[in-house]
Symmetry: C2
């Protein structure tokens, strides 16, 4: 098994199993821009989006759903104020893992440091994929790239947020899906 997946599985079985349960209603904020994020979150049910707000519009930059982890990554890693909002797309159950708890967990066994390295490498590669997404002009190709990575996206996330993540209008997304 991939060392990164192994680490995530162990996080689930130990840290997530002991974490408290937070319940958010639709449109509730888990984090506001300007606040520091001290946790990452295991999504037990529901869906979350991370978005970045400019004068012109909201940019959805990450989507998370059942069985995955989400946080405001720069803020979590550097302890700086978040540039993003984290918001519940619908009723959502989260298990927060505090940064200090995760750091202690990583330090406990040398193998975990290696696994965490591999996890970070995986995140780096995913972010480069996202950079290419953003540079891809064709809306059809952008959709295809994302569906290759997340085939079940439309079952988990409303189309308007997927459109925002893909930098296209909901109308364009709908037209592409039908064709």
């Amino acid at each position: 098994m991939d060392p990164a997946l192994q680490l995530i599985q162990e996080v689930e079985q130990t840290l997530v199993a002991k974490a408290k349960l937070l319940v958010f209603e639709r449109n509730d904020f888990i984090l506001q821009a300007g606040a520091v994020e001290h946790n990452f979150y295991w999504i037990e049910s529901g869906a979350i989006r991370a978005f970045y707000l400019t004068e012109l519009e909201e940019h959805t930059i990450r989507l998370g759903y059942k069985g995955s982890l989400i946080t405001s990554l720069t803020s979590f890693l550097n302890g700086t104020p978040s540039e993003y909002y984290l918001q519940a797309i619908r009723k959502t159950h989260l298990r927060p893992i505090p940064k200090t708890t995760f750091q202690n967990f990583i330090q406990e066994k040398p193998v975990r440091l290696q696994q965490y390295n591999r996890l970070l490498e995986t995140i780096v590669v995913q972010q480069l994929e996202r950079e290419i997404d953003l540079l891809t002009y064709s809306p059809v190709e952008r959709l295809q790239r994302v569906l290759t990575r997340s085939p079940h996206l439309f079952q988990e996330i409303p189309a308007k947020y997927i459109a925002s993540y893909l930098r296209m209008s909901p109308e364009t997304l709908s037209r592409i899906q039908k064709s």
Copy 2:
């Protein structure tokens, strides 16, 4: 000192000092898309760009100059064919560090694994900055964001490549700089 910087300094003092010297002329390719990258490179002099080629145009996605490291990161980390080209912008001297050499170096001391973790976290944060760059509509703001991170960029890299990196025409970049 930041653990990531400490690691880079030690890489310079040990691995780079023993590495062979490669010389590339202007426009020479260090790596072609489709090939696997087995090295990262210390730039001893000159400048490099990483670009991504679509039917429509070249997208400059990274710029590297004297005293920094560059590679095709996904290919280097995963051993997959590179989606990018690495090309010398002018005559360039590189010191290649093979992946296996770097991996042995990291495994030699436990503290290096921790430092490498911090380096990967730094790369993750830099990539998120780049993602926000790409989502920033205003060309003036895009330029300001990049100059905050790399104040000496224009001394190292010709304007046409900076324009490509910033997703604007050379004319727009020139107009912004004058105003």
